[in-house]
């Protein structure tokens, strides 16, 4: 398969190791992974604030960069959610629709398309709390949200349970929002930070050494909150653990 790798703007700039782990992990499964060098962003920041007209040019650029791949894969659920569900500032040509339909978040791509039996290179002998980003949980349907009456499933836990030595701990409010919320984190920064404090405390009380997530945006926020109030948890992206990061 020929995969277009989308590294969202803030991951590119602040969490390059997540991009590297995603690239290496996809290559481990024998896929050709291409990084289109003119990529910037998916357009979500503008569109999430209601400014669709301002996201149109960025969305058009995304389509130019990622047209023609078998799949487009990104290590961030909210960007994929934007492309798949809200990417409508553009005229919906066949090309646009094609790119939208072929864009996957890393965990769902691995779980639903690659379907690995084992990850023999991955060992992570630590107590880990899983954080599902809200849109990744409820819109990309990574796992059963606590509000719904449906059978339990969790794509990230399925993958992580193939990692040797990993131990899971569960916070009291497993899918409570951590308060990032994109621009919410600055427009309502007091509420956002309070939610983040409560979230990292909840993980710490559950005994987590690491919080793992498929979304670096929540990690960025939670890490900033944990460091501010002195909660000694470490944060890591799921791509890094699945790619064999040791710590």
């Amino acid at each position: 398969m020929r995969i277009g790798l989308f590294v969202p703007c803030f991951i590119d700039a602040l969490f390059p190791e997540v991009g590297v782990a995603t690239l290496e992990l996809l290559e481990r499964f024998g896929h050709e992974v291409v990084y289109p060098r003119d990529q910037t962003c998916c357009g979500q920041p503008m569109a999430d604030n209601g400014f669709n007209a301002d996201s149109a040019a960025t969305e058009a650029l995304f389509v130019r960069n990622f047209s023609g791949f078998d799949y487009v894969v990104a290590p961030e659920g909210s960007c994929v959610h934007h492309v798949r569900d809200n990417f409508d500032a553009l005229e919906q040509t066949a090309e646009v629709k094609e790119v939208r339909a072929r864009t996957y978040e890393l965990v769902e791509f691995l779980h639903d398309i690659v379907k690995p039996d084992a990850l023999p290179w991955a060992k992570f002998p630590h107590r880990v709390g899983l954080h599902n980003k809200c849109v990744t949980l409820r819109r990309l349907k990574h796992a059963k949200p606590s509000e719904l009456h449906e059978p339990f499933y969790s794509k990230p836990l399925d993958l992580l349970s193939k990692v040797e030595g990993i131990e899971f701990v569960t916070p009291a409010r497993p899918d409570e929002c951590c308060g990032f919320g994109g621009t919410f984190s600055v427009f309502e920064e007091v509420v956002s930070a309070k939610m983040g404090y409560d979230k990292v405390r909840d993980h710490a009380r559950a005994g987590a050494e690491y919080v793992v997530s498929a979304d670096s945006s929540c990690i960025m926020h939670q890490q900033g909150c944990a460091e501010r109030i002195g909660v000694p948890i470490k944060f890591i992206h799921i791509a890094q653990i699945l790619n064999g990061a040791s710590a």
């Binding site: 700039a13 060098r37 910037t40 809200c134 409010r173 994109g182 007091v190 930070a193």
Partner: protein, 519 residues
């Protein structure tokens, strides 16, 4: 942002002392008993709490600053902690009830389709209801807006020479500013719901559609009662306070000239209506005086009694995590020697029905489940929204009343979507919140700063060369990036959080150095 200077700028203020220890998830009093009531758990207080933070500051028609009021609520850690835990407790009870009903998701789908069907055929069902209710001996009135509602009720009361009115809780009458109007024409209104009575005595709006005084600690109630009904200001025992209120309110109830209720469901095929309470106070309001007036929003109609069975199964389970309210009272017509009036109120509902993206908000049955689950609401308090409806449902209803005044509200959300998942009638609340943001941009109801930032971000992110130049090195990236990822600069991000640690190189540079040959 200026909210940091409102008292929450110091991280220490935001951290409740108990946050450094384990959070108290299953509270018990010193003698081991847990005080638990259908509408929430009451807990003894460990320390003398701070004064109750008040709600949003209202400046005429200027946009309400929810963030500012929320910051003040968070700066009152005893209040914030109690509020968050108490409402989370309701959410957990709701989950337990849900797990007891295998067909829960089918019920939600059914309830949603019943309400949608009714809204699509609202004119027919309203006419049917009017005909049946009239045949039952009820006087029907139609009010196009809040003012007309208030005038109609005033006229009915005047016709009967009524000077005092007891009423049960009704969000519609809150919408209509009913108590203020009645005060202006010299009619005494006595709320019979305990929480609503507390709010009335404190001259404050309800902060929640089901539990109106949920933002108050028992000490706040003791302070209000000491000032208004003469209780001991130092006694905040909940039994003492509840009994004192009962003793003070009962004579007023018995002497009232007229009674008023809201309505949870109005059944078209029978011309009857149903009121659900846990205190039986609607029954007092309806049955003690000879004159009963019910204010009913036109969206409360359902076609048949069999539909009521579906909605009743969902209502209290969603609201409070109890199988059913203590009282589910059906009103068919006036009793002997009595008189019953219904005021059917539009007040913006028919124009909302014409809004393609927002009409399904009319499915709402006012259970408050979206508020209980909302992490922003739980930490902000309902009064921070400065509007009749708070929490997620408020974010999508309030702007239909005034898109300018409530233009900030749709941004008071992380779009996490928990609200839509708990909604018993499956309103896509978080999608409507996003749709309102788009609508407000179209209506030019967003700030110039935000508009300029979004335009600049859109231009930079659509031009790869300019974008790469802006974040050419990691240091430059850290200086520039949050400006277009989070738009407001590092100072706001960093007020209560550490900034991300800048890496040595971007992924882009790493790829150039390590993988360029492969491309």
């Amino acid at each position: 942002m200026s909210i940091a200077s409102e008292g929450a700028g110091d991280t220490g203020v935001m951290l409740h002392p108990e946050l450094r220890a384990d959070r108290d998830e299953a509270p018990k009093s010193p003698n081991g008993q847990r005080l638990d009531h259908a509408e929430g758990a009451s807990k003894p207080l460990r320390v003398r709490p701070e004064k109750q933070p008040r709600g949003a500051k209202i400046h005429g028609n200027r946009p309400v600053n929810q963030a500012e009021a929320a910051a003040r609520f968070i700066a009152a850690p005893e209040h914030e902690k109690m509020h968050d835990e108490r409402l989370w407790d309701l959410r957990q009870k709701r989950d337990r009830e849900m797990h007891g009903i295998p067909e829960w998701e089918e019920l939600r789908a059914l309830a949603s389709s019943i309400k949608e069907h009714t809204l699509v055929h609202l004119d027919e069902y309203l006419e049917q209801f009017e005909a049946k209710a009239s045949a039952n001996g009820i006087h029907l009135h139609w009010a196009k807006d809040a003012a007309e509602h208030n005038h109609i009720v005033h006229r009915i009361l005047s016709d009967h020479g009524a000077k005092s009115l007891i009423k049960s809780k009704s969000m519609l009458t809150e919408e209509c500013g009913f108590r203020h109007y009645m005060a202006s024409v010299g009619i005494e209104v006595i709320e019979t719901d305990l929480g609503e009575r507390i709010q009335q005595l404190d001259n404050e709006d309800p902060s929640h559609v089901v539990v109106p005084a949920v933002h108050k600690l028992r000490t706040d109630v003791a302070e209000v009662f000491a000032k208004t009904i003469g209780t001991d200001p130092n006694n905040s025992d909940v039994h003492y306070l509840a009994e004192a209120q009962r003793q003070s309110n009962r004579p007023l109830i018995l002497a009232a000239d007229a009674g008023m209720t809201g309505c949870n469901f109005a059944v078209a095929e029978t011309g009857t209506f149903v009121v659900c309470t846990n205190e039986g106070n609607a029954d007092l309001s309806a049955n003690v005086p000879k004159l009963h007036i019910a204010s009913i929003g036109i969206e409360k109609i359902i076609p048949r009694l069999e539909h009521l069975a579906v909605l009743i199964r969902l209502l209290s389970r969603s609201a409070l995590g109890s199988p059913i309210t203590q009282y589910t009272s059906h009103f068919r017509g006036p009793r002997d020697g009595g008189e019953m009036h219904i005021v059917l109120v539009d007040n913006g509902r028919s124009s909302r029905l014409g809004m393609p993206e927002f009409w399904t908000s009319l499915k709402c049955i006012r259970c408050g489940a979206c508020m209980n689950t909302c992490p922003v609401y739980r930490r902000s308090g309902g009064l921070s929204y400065g509007a009749t409806y708070s929490g997620p449902i408020g974010l999508i209803i309030d702007p239909t009343f005034n898109a300018h005044k409530y233009s900030n509200l749709p941004f008071a959300s992380t779009l996490n979507g928990s609200c839509s998942n708990v909604c018993p009638v499956k309103i896509n609340i978080h999608e409507q919140i996003l749709a309102w943001r788009r609508e407000l941009v179209k209506l030019h109801e967003v700030s110039f700063v935000k508009k300029a930032a979004m335009k600049a971000a859109g231009e930079l992110l659509s031009r790869p060369a300019a974008y790469r130049a802006a974040i050419a090195t990691a240091d430059v990236a850290l200086a520039n990036l949050p400006r277009f990822v989070i738009y407001n600069g590092l100072n706001t991000w960093g007020t209560h959080r550490e900034v991300p640690h800048p890496p040595r190189q971007t992924f882009h540079s790493w790829h150039q150095a390590n993988r360029r040959a492969k491309k």
